[in-house]
Assembly symmetry: none
Homo-oligomer: 148 residues x 2
Amino acid sequence: MYKKIILYGVVLGLLIIGLKFAEYRFLIRSNSFEIYGGLIAILFTVVGIWGGSKYIKGKEVTVIKEVMVNAPAEFAVNENNLKHFNISKREHDVLILMAQGLSNQEVADKLFVSLNTIKTHSSKLFEKLNVQRRTQAVQEAKKLGLVP
Amino acid sequence: MYKKIILYGVVLGLLIIGLKFAEYRFLIRSNSFEIYGGLIAILFTVVGIWGGSKYIKGKEVTVIKEVMVNAPAEFAVNENNLKHFNISKREHDVLILMAQGLSNQEVADKLFVSLNTIKTHSSKLFEKLNVQRRTQAVQEAKKLGLVP
DNA sequence: TTTCAACTCATACTTTAGGATGATTTTGGT
DNA sequence: ACCAAAATCATCCTAAAGTATGAGTTGAAA
């Protein structure tokens, strides 16, 4: 870590020396500020991107590790899993009805909202449960104890 | 996207105006190059980090998450119900894959037949099980012990 | 008060599912 | 060998489902 800081400083110093040297040799003095300013801006934008990119963490890849438990005789929603998968109350409502085999339209009617709303909810559910289809969502939901 | 680019440009423009303004008001001209150079360097390092972080993805970070799932009970096909509902062997194959959340196309691929064939099978299944949708069919099939 | 997530709904579009119908080919049993 | 059921596939069409995007509302937390 210290090495990097020192290296950084040294590089900057050399750079300034280089610029100063160039100033007296190659460039028209009257325009130097604009030119140097621009160069420095570009240079340090790149430096920033380069330096910053090392400390930026990428997308988190969540690996779900399943732990088998015995399903209880009577059903109780697994609140933990609801939280784990960040499923909202309304999404859960939709999930329950979906698991009963209802179509989106039927779910919409039961919940007194529009078909579009249900589509939105179910799309988000599929994302959160990491599935593509409602049949898979229902499967997953049952396994996770989110629905009876 | 365009908004961001425009915003970026506007901010840079204002910045340059600000620096020029400051140049004639507050700072000693003789030292201006070093001061401005340093300021610009710092500023654009930050800009680089900030701007770059939005478009540069870091190494993926793997997060392991444990979730509790219901252990599947051991399963045996209820042959009686298969006969009762007059479900053929092939239809049963389709039903099983359907219950695993596969799409018709995926079922077709697994069974090495065409999509149309699967559609025919599933249509007949829905008739025989007296349901309208595949989600209902899966529900019913599980209840009847036709699939795990 | 600002901010933010959840909820709602819309439009426009693509993809699957499902229904109706008819045709050909296997295949198991008499 | 023959028949009936099962299995295969096609075409045409409609209905649901699903994706993507934007946007207005609201309630609760900072």
